[in-house]
Symmetry: C2
Subunit: 310 residues, 2 copies
C-alpha cells in the first residue's frame, strides 16, 4: 500500500484527490473550476497543495489531462478547452512545486487504465475504452499495456474517418466518428432536421441537447429516435473496425451520451454485428458500460502514479 495524489484537469473542472493504491475510494477529494482569476496551472497546483499540506506520506503524483498529452515528456500538447494550453510542460511545472515523481497522461487513455484495473475491464488483457460525450475519445489496452505510440497520442478513437467528405468535425477534418456519433453530432442532426421542417416535439426546445433528445426519443419522437439510430449505426460500424484492428475481449463505453442506454446501444450492437468481418471477433466479447463513470480518469491517474507506467 502506498499513498498517491492524483488530479484530473477537464475543460470546466479540476479535481484533485488523495488515494491509497489498490483502493478506489478517495481519502480526500477537492474540486475547483478550470478557468478563474489565476492560470489553470496555478489553480491545479493550488488545489493539489491543499491536499499535499495534510499528508506528507504521498509517494507520487498522477495527473490526467484533457487533450493530446505526451506522457513520456509530461507535456500537454494541446488542451482544446483551456485557452493558451499548447505544449504545456505540466510534469515539469508540478515537479517544481512537489518533490515526488510526477506522471502525466491523456484523460481517456487513463480512463481506459482505470477501467482495466478497477472497473468493467478487470481481468481483461485486451480492452477498448471509448467515451461518447461532447466529443469522442478513447484508450486501448493490448496485452495489459496502453497503446501510446511514439508521442503518446495514439488511440484518438473519435478522429477516424467514417464518411469521406461527411459532416465537419471540430478538428476540421470531414466525416470523423466524432462528427457523427458524439452528443454534439446527435444534437446537430436534430437541429438540422428541425431547420429542414421535420416534425418533432423538439421544435421549440432550446438548447437541443443529447439528454433532451433522449427524453423525446423515449416518448416516441421520430426525429429524436433517428438521431440516436444514426449515431449508433456509425459508432457500431467503427467499433467493428476496431475489433478487426485490436481484437479485444471487452469494449467499454463511457461518457454522458451512453447514459441514454439502449437508445444508443441497440443500434450500436446491431451495426457491430452487421459490419464484423467474422463471428470470431464477437467470440468472448463483452460490450459494457463504464463502471467507474466520471471517476475513471482519476482512478487511471492513480494506476499511473502507483505503477510508475510511462
Amino acid at each position: 500500500m502506498s499513498r498517491h495524489l492524483v488530479a484530473d484537469i477537464g475543460g470546466t473542472q479540476i479535481r484533485a484527490a488523495l488515494f491509497d493504491s489498490e483502493t478506489t475510494t478517495p481519502l480526500l477529494i477537492k474540486k475547483t473550476t478550470t478557468i478563474g482569476d489565476n492560470s489553470a496551472l496555478d489553480r491545479l497546483c493550488d488545489l493539489m497543495g491543499e491536499i499535499w499540506k495534510n499528508d506528507r506520506t504521498i509517494e507520487s503524483i498522477g495527473v490526467a489531462a484533457a487533450g493530446p498529452t505526451d506522457p513520456y515528456q509530461g507535456i500537454v500538447i494541446a488542451a482544446p478547452n483551456i485557452p493558451g494550453w499548447v505544449n504545456v510542460p505540466l510534469r515539469e511545472y508540478i515537479s517544481q512545486r512537489f518533490d515526488v515523481p510526477v506522471y502525466v497522461g491523456n484523460d481517456a487513455n487513463l480512463a481506459a487504465l482505470g477501467e482495466w484495473k478497477f472497473g468493467a475491464g478487470k481481468g481483461h488483457h485486451h480492452l477498448i475504452y471509448m467515451t461518447i460525450s461532447t466529443g469522442i475519445g478513447g484508450g486501448v489496452i493490448s496485452d495489459d499495456r496502453l497503446i501510446l505510440g511514439q508521442f503518446g497520442i495514439a488511440a484518438e478513437m473519435g478522429h477516424v474517418t467514417v464518411i469521406p467528405d461527411g459532416p465537419i468535425c471540430p478538428c476540421g477534418q470531414l466525416g470523423h466518428l466524432e462528427a457523427l456519433s458524439s452528443g454534439t453530432a446527435i444534437a446537430q442532426y436534430v437541429q438540422d432536421g428541425l431547420n429542414n421542417g421535420v416534425k418533432s416535439q423538439l421544435i421549440n426546445r432550446e438548447p437541443v441537447t443529447a439528454k433532451i433528445i433522449a427524453e423525446a426519443a423515449r416518448s416516441g419522437d421520430r426525429l429524436a429516435r433517428d438521431a440516436f439510430d444514426r449515431a449508433g449505426k456509425y459508432l457500431g460500424l467503427m467499433i467493428a473496425n476496431y475489433l478487426h484492428l485490436f481484437n479485444p475481449s471487452i469494449i467499454i463505453l463511457g461518457g454522458g451520451v451512453v447514459q441514454s442506454g439502449e437508445l444508443l446501444l441497440r443500434p450500436t450492437r446491431d451495426s457491430i454485428e452487421a459490419n464484423v468481418l467474422s463471428p470470431k471477433y464477437l467470440e468472448n466479447l463483452t460490450i459494457s458500460k463504464s463502471a467507474l463513470g466520471d471517476e475513471a480518469g482519476l482512478l487511471g491517474a492513480l494506476v499511473l502514479a502507483s505503477a510508475n507506467l510511462p
Copy 2:
C-alpha cells in the same frame, strides 16, 4: 547464435528455410507448391523434413501462415486460399513430427516483426506494416510488441470501412480498404472504366493486372493514372486514421502493388497529409517501402522462433 527451421505457407507456394538466429541469409531454402497430390499440411511437413534431416541442431520451428491465425493456440483459423483450411491445428500437427518447440503466426504480422528486427523498421518501437497485394494485410508493433488481441487476429488493416456502402470486399463487407486500394481493386476500377466506355490503351489487354496498369499509367494513360490516384487517396486516408490510432514512427509498405512506386505513393502521401488530425502525427514519421520484400514473413517466423514470442 541458435539454429531455426522456418516456413511460410502462402496460397500458391510453401517455402521452408534454415537460419542461424540474428542472420538474414538462409543456410538452406526449399520450395514447393501449396496444392498438390497430398494435403498442404503434409506437403509443408515433408518440405520441412528435407531440411530437418540434414541438421539435428535445430532448436525451434517458426511458421508464417496466410490468413487469420491464433498464435497462442497455434491454429490457422481460416486460410482463404487453401481449400479446407479452417481451424487447422498447425502447431500440434508439426509438433507431432518434429520434436522441438513450434511457433505459428499470421504472415503479415510476422512480416511486421521481420521488418522491425531486420528490415526497414530497425530501431523503431512503434511500427505499422502493410502489404498491398491481391489483398491488403498488415501488422502493428507498439512499444516493441505485436498487437495481437485475444485470439491473435488483430491488425486486419485491409478490412476496415473506408466508404460505407462502397464496393464489395472479398470478405463480403462493403467499402473496405481492400476493396478500394488492393491490386484487385485497382484492376476492377480499370475494368469498370473500360466496360463503361472510358478511353484507354488498356482496352484489349487481358487480363488487366495492377502491373500492366502501372505500365499504362507511366505512358500517360488517364484511366490507369486515375486508378492509382484513387487507390492512393483511400490508402492515404486510412493511413492517416492509423496514425491517429497507433502514432507510429514508421509506416512500411510491402506487397506487389507497392512496386508501382510513385504512381501509388505520391497520391498516398498527399492523402495522408490532407487527412491527418495534426502535424504532430507526421513529426519524426518515416514512410518506407519494405526492405525485406517477399522474405519478410520468413524472417518474421525466424524472429518468432528465436525469441519465443507468442
